[in-house]
């Protein structure tokens, strides 16, 4: 089925609100996309999916499934094989399938003229555009990201490499357009940090094709006609910028990133979906909404914060001006040991802050009778999660993922409200930046503490202790 994306009137690169619709699923933008690892939302069991309102659009990197031949999801029968295999509900969730994990920035063997190198737990696998088309056909995701040729060798890249990258990305996209019924395709905006290359790539998408090339993409006039939207991966851009030893100043960096994205969009259809991967903070999200009109952002940074023990605590627009604060709480900190408050100051309706007692329970014998609680269960506390984190209990992360996704989802709802009310997003965004620290120092601090506890109490602890005991012997 074809994805529909409707936009409220807006300028080419200005902030905008829209609605993404497929089947009975309707998603308001700007909004978030939940990321997965090996096909699961990290720390979230399948029965929690329906209790996670923020879970609507899901991004599934496919490469780990290449560990089996053929990849197991392609064997799943039914109308929605990928949904079924991964436990997503076609009436609630839209699933976007991509080959590589956009958050994986490690060095990889180079891509070839007709294949991409993908990373699996059993080593590197080559995937050709033909195979990708087969996998996509068999899995029937709602949205597919065309294979991009992103160089994962060490930057900076030669002009020759960049040229190859944009040519292959366009050719592989054209390859995915050919079959019918048509797919909902997101195109990776190639060209790296070169404005000229990015412009040239966009132009190649809109060029009217002739002869054999035209036949290959028929009924589309040009490649762009067959694309449902554009996707920008920030990680390879940052990698290139680091290598080119460009300006490290964050403001300068941000401006440069926005300029690169804007160049790509200059000549393309303004009404198509714009997706960004590997965004780092709500501040960056606001900048990209304001100056590039991005519609969808991955939630990886918020999910990662949950993974290292940070409960997000911010709202948009800000309520009252307060002292400058962090975006959340590093619950490893000692100060939370007896802090019996809910995770965030603002009201939150996630499964951790507003748990719902199960209305029924599995009955195991004729005498079992479920007694429902009379009162609503209270919110989980910072003190409880502090305890779970220090004892290396997995429940901590399950609760934090529920919460962080809800906080980010509420943030986007706040952004949409501001836009729908016709208020000045820029003014609100500036106030937000003045209120909250963008550096996310609490996340870095929490990550260090998470590592400490993981080494002391996590997998392999016994072996490490034995080794330590052994070395103590005279």
């Amino acid at each position: 089925m074809s994805l529909s994306f409707t936009l409220a009137p807006c300028s080419r690169l200005g902030p905008r609100t829209g609605t993404l619709t497929l089947r009975s699923v309707s998603i308001n933008t700007p909004g978030l996309m939940v990321t997965t690892s090996r096909g699961v939302v990290p720390h979230l069991s399948r029965d929690q999916h329906k209790r996670t309102a923020a879970l609507r659009l899901v991004h599934v990197p496919f490469e780990t499934f290449l560990e089996n031949t053929p990849p197991t999801p392609t064997l799943q029968p039914g109308l929605h094989p990928l949904h079924t295999f991964l436990g997503f509900d076609p009436n609630v969730h839209l699933v976007a399938m991509t080959l590589r994990d956009p958050a994986d920035g490690k060095e990889m063997p180079s891509n070839g003229h007709d294949y991409i190198s993908a990373s699996t737990a059993r080593g590197v696998r080559k995937v050709t555009p033909n195979q990708w088309r087969e996998y996509v056909r068999a899995c029937a995701p709602d949205v597919v990201v065309a294979l991009p040729d992103v160089p994962w060798s060490l930057p900076p890249f030669s002009q020759k490499r960049t040229t190859k990258s944009i040519e292959r990305t366009a050719a592989w996209l054209a390859h995915l357009l050919a079959p019918s019924p048509p797919l909902n395709i997101l195109v990776h905006m190639a060209g790296g940090t070169s404005e000229a290359a990015r412009r040239s790539f966009s132009e190649s998408l809109t060029e009217t094709l002739h002869g054999k090339e035209a036949e290959a993409v028929s009924p589309h006039r040009c490649i762009d006609d067959g694309a449902a939207g554009y996707i920008f991966d920030l990680l390879p851009l940052r990698r290139e910028m680091d290598a080119e030893a460009r300006e490290q100043d964050p403001v300068h960096r941000a401006n440069e990133t926005q300029a690169l994205l804007a160049v790509s969009l200059e000549h393309l259809s303004p009404t198509k979906l714009r997706v960004v991967n590997s965004v780092a903070s709500p501040h960056e999200i606001l900048r990209l909404i304001r100056s590039v009109g991005v519609d969808v952002f991955d939630a990886k940074w918020a999910q990662d914060a949950a993974h290292v023990g940070v409960a997000l605590d911010f709202v948009f627009p800000i309520r009252d001006k307060e002292l400058r604060r962090d975006l959340g709480h590093n619950l490893y900190r000692l100060q939370y040991a007896n802090d019996f408050a809910a995770f965030s100051a603002a009201a939150c309706f996630c499964g951790a802050c507003a748990p719902v007692a199960p209305p029924s329970a599995i009955s195991h014998s004729a005498l079992d009778a479920h007694v429902s609680a009379l009162a609503l269960p209270p919110a989980y506390t910072r003190a409880y999660v502090h305890h779970l984190l220090h004892t290396h209990e997995m429940s901590a992360h399950a609760l934090l993922v529920l919460h962080n996704l809800a906080v980010l989802d509420a943030f986007f709802a706040g952004v949409r409200d501001v836009l729908l009310r016709g208020e000045d997003l820029g003014a609100h965004a500036d106030a937000f930046s003045a209120q909250y620290d963008e550096n996310l120092t609490i996340v870095h601090e929490a990550r260090a503490m998470w590592k400490e506890v993981d080494i002391a109490r996590g997998k392999g602890r016994m072996a490490r202790e034995r080794a330590a005991d052994h070395s103590e012997l005279p």
Binding site: S37, R38, G39, V40, V41, P42, H43, L44, S45, R46, Q48, T64, F65, E67, N68, T72, L75, Q76, P77, T84, F85, L86, G87, A121, A337, N338, F340, G351, A352, P355, V356, A357, P358, A361, I362, S363, H364, S365, A366, L367, D368, H370, V371, A373, A375, P377, P378, Y380, T381, A383, Y384, H386, H387, L388, H390, T391, E393, M394, S395, A398
Partner: protein
């Protein structure tokens, strides 16, 4: 004190069904709090550090679990009694509003601490945090358990590993456990907590039937001061044929009007044999721990989901299982792809395994009520072990209570523990 009602007895074995109603906490501020009844026999999943591995209390409750176990030793270290007291007890701290049992902390002192020394006063151990010598007395154990606020609390007992060869030490530990029971009772009854928290005694005596007998007799004399009895000091690697004989003897001598709790057992065959011998409660980390290693428990035996043969198996763990993992059709292939790599896979199998344990025990309750428990045993064992063969000790144990697994069956019999594994 706890309300214990016997509801049905098996006509052949010593199995029984009962209802255990625990704490009723009334506060005069309109709300009142009932943790609700638990129907026995039941299996208690273990929430060592105030959480069932990876799950929320709401998830655990939805699985039909009404009684869980928290470990005193761990909770005393973290978060500590001060935080628990501030939180208003472990129920509130962890958001669990059903029943909870806490152990005494004594077992972990022996199993986890390298430097524990037992004296008449208590157990002297090295604090894992400060390295300082710390004393856990029976009074201290009860006091910690009061702060945790479990509905059932356990006496501090002198635990010796079940394979200890030193008979004199086993005897000393047994006698001391009786003396410590008296100290626990005295402290508990002076605390004012006996209306909401229920103290259980723990029978010790190693693998010696004579010592076990003497211990049971002395503890039964104190019956009116305790809410139930546990059989401790087993599941320490002893021969299964010895294990069941101890359980059988203890269960026979324990009073009918008190719940009987066999500590530290969790394999399906162990549970059902113990139920047949008259046991009402059991606990073990096995179902939740094995889940994290990728082993799913089913009526046809355990499945090791890490094996390559499950990589393309699109069936759920068990088609007939009512747990969320199976009803949502989570496939073996999906679990094979994610287990030991993603915590969510451990959660999925944990959910399943806890439900499986509850199903085994719930099925036993229904069968006892209907008078078909011997048939339930025969069909469960036939399904579970099938071609693999029955453990000989199970055959012996069930024969001793009038059920012959081999009657009309050509399933072979295996020596040793006979546990089925994949």
């Amino acid at each position: 004190m706890a309300h214990f009602e016997l509801l049905a007895k098996c006509h052949t074995t010593r199995a029984r069904v009962s209802r255990l109603t625990l704490a009723r906490k009334f506060s005069w501020e309109i709300t009142f709090h009932v943790h609700g009844p638990t129907i026995l026999p039941t299996f208690m999943p273990v929430a060592t550090q105030a959480a069932i591995k990876g799950l929320t209390p709401q998830q655990v409750e939805s699985l039909g679990v009404t009684l869980i176990l928290n470990n005193t030793y761990h909770l005393n270290l973290r978060p500590g009694v001060k935080v628990l007291a501030e939180a208003g007890g472990a129920h509130k701290f962890q958001g669990w509003n059903k029943n909870m049992l806490t152990d005494s902390g004594g077992f972990q002192l022996v199993s986890l601490s390298k430097f524990t020394k037992i004296t008449e006063e208590g157990a002297l151990f090295e604090s894992p945090f400060t390295g300082e010598p710390t004393m856990l007395t029976p009074e201290e154990s009860i006091s910690i358990q009061h702060a945790i606020g479990g509905d059932i609390i356990m006496q501090l007992d002198d635990v010796v590993p079940s394979l200890t060869p030193d008979h004199a030490r086993v005897e000393e530990a047994m006698e001391r456990s009786v003396r410590w029971l008296d100290r626990c009772i005295a402290f508990h009854n002076n605390s004012g907590k006996q209306t909401t928290q229920n103290l259980f005694a723990i029978v010790q005596g190693g693998l010696d039937l004579e010592l076990r007998h003497r211990c049971v007799m002395q503890m039964v004399e104190r019956k009116n001061k305790v809410a139930g009895f546990a059989i401790g000091g087993l599941s320490g690697g002893e021969e299964k044929d010895v294990f069941w004989r101890i359980v059988k003897q203890c269960a026979e001598k324990l009073p009918e009007d008190r719940p009987r709790y066999c500590m530290g057992i969790g394999f399906a065959e162990d549970l059902l044999v113990c139920v047949a011998l008259g046991i009402d409660m059991a606990d073990c980390v096995f179902p939740t721990r094995t889940a994290r290693f990728g082993v799913a428990l089913t009526p046809r035996g355990p499945l090791n989901l890490r094996l390559a043969k499950y990589a393309k198996d699109l069936a759920p763990i068990d088609d007939n299982c009512s747990c969320p993992t199976c009803t949502e059709k989570t496939s073996r292939a999906f679990l094979n792809h994610t287990i030991t790599r993603e915590t969510a896979a451990a959660h999925a199998v944990t959910i399943h395994n806890i439900t499986f344990q509850a199903q085994v025990m719930g099925g036993a309750r229904d069968a006892i009520l209907k008078g078909t428990f011997p048939d339930y045993l025969r069909s469960f064992f036939a399904n579970y072990f099938g071609e693999f063969g029955y453990p000989e000790w199970c055959v012996n144990a069930l024969r001793s209570v009038g059920v012959d697994l081999l009657e009309g069956s050509d399933i072979k019999v295996n020596k040793g523990s006979g546990a089925k594994w994949e």
